[in-house]
């Protein structure tokens, strides 16, 4: 019974990514989309919180990273990049999705 969590707000603006990670369970996945992909940049307080939590998988949506000028070189370790098809696959692989709006 795992959850795909989606977050769409910048962690520097809103606390939804932080709350999401704090509520994710072992085996869950967190996918950052839209402005949440800023949370994938290495060396920030937001990235540190993601790295702390080793029980969940972390994804970021590639099209949103590209739109915002965030190349692979800027990403924190452990962040997996997927496209829209990968987003669909993640939704299929997990039993349900939860949007942290």
């Amino acid at each position: 019974m795992s959850i795909l969590h989606t977050v769409n707000k910048s962690p520097f603006e809103k606390q939804s990514l932080s709350s999401c990670v704090a509520h994710a369970s072992h085996g869950d996945a967190v996918l950052m989309i839209e402005d949440a992909v800023y949370g994938a940049v290495s060396g920030t307080a937001a990235a540190a919180q993601l790295e702390e939590n080793k029980n969940i998988s972390i994804y970021a949506l590639g099209p949103d990273l590209n739109a915002r000028g965030l190349g692979e070189a800027k990403l924190a370790e452990g962040v997996n990049v997927v496209d829209y098809n990968g987003f669909v696959e993640l939704a299929v692989e997990h039993d349900k999705t939860q949007s942290w709006l």
Binding site: M1, S2, I3, Q15, S25, K96, T97, Q98, L101
Partner: protein, 143 residues
């Protein structure tokens, strides 16, 4: 879909409504409540979660006269009549906001399986308990 019970033609799923936003500043709390009320007619297994700023929805003493907006907080107290009786409120969210359970409305329901005894609908849970509630759902709706 593992936890789904098939009773004849009727599918019963575990629905969780996640409330993370304050009332009045935006409409999400109100329109989420409207979904809960309509959803009650579908006889699913319904729970509500209140965390982050969502705990503010349950504050007692709301008086919206001076902002000219309808006060919809009494509706939470009527949820029991719609057989919506599981309201999980996160302790950590209350504490971070300088609140305790005493600041919340009293919300109860009459338990038809227990001689219509009046019971509290609000269950204070900590963060990891709430995570467990989320994990066991079939459908999670958040607005």
């Amino acid at each position: 879909m593992n936890d789904m019970a098939d009773t004849g033609e009727q599918t019963i799923k575990k629905f969780l409504y996640v409330n993370r936003k304050a009332p009045y500043g935006t409409i999400y709390a109100l329109e989420s409540l409207e979904v809960v009320l309509i959803g009650a007619a579908f006889e699913q297994d319904v729970s509500l979660a209140f965390l982050d700023d969502g705990v503010f929805q349950l504050m007692k003493g709301q008086d919206t006269a001076d902002i000219g907006v309808k006060n919809f907080s009494p509706t939470y107290r009527a949820l029991g009549d719609f057989e919506v009786t599981k309201l999980f409120v996160e302790k950590e969210s209350l504490e971070e906001r300088g609140l305790s359970e005493d600041d919340l409305m009293e919300i109860t329901y009459e338990d038809e399986d227990d001689d219509w005894e009046e019971k509290p609908s609000i269950h204070l849970v900590n963060r990891s308990e709430l995570a467990a509630v989320m994990a066991e759902q079939d459908v999670i709706l958040s607005f």
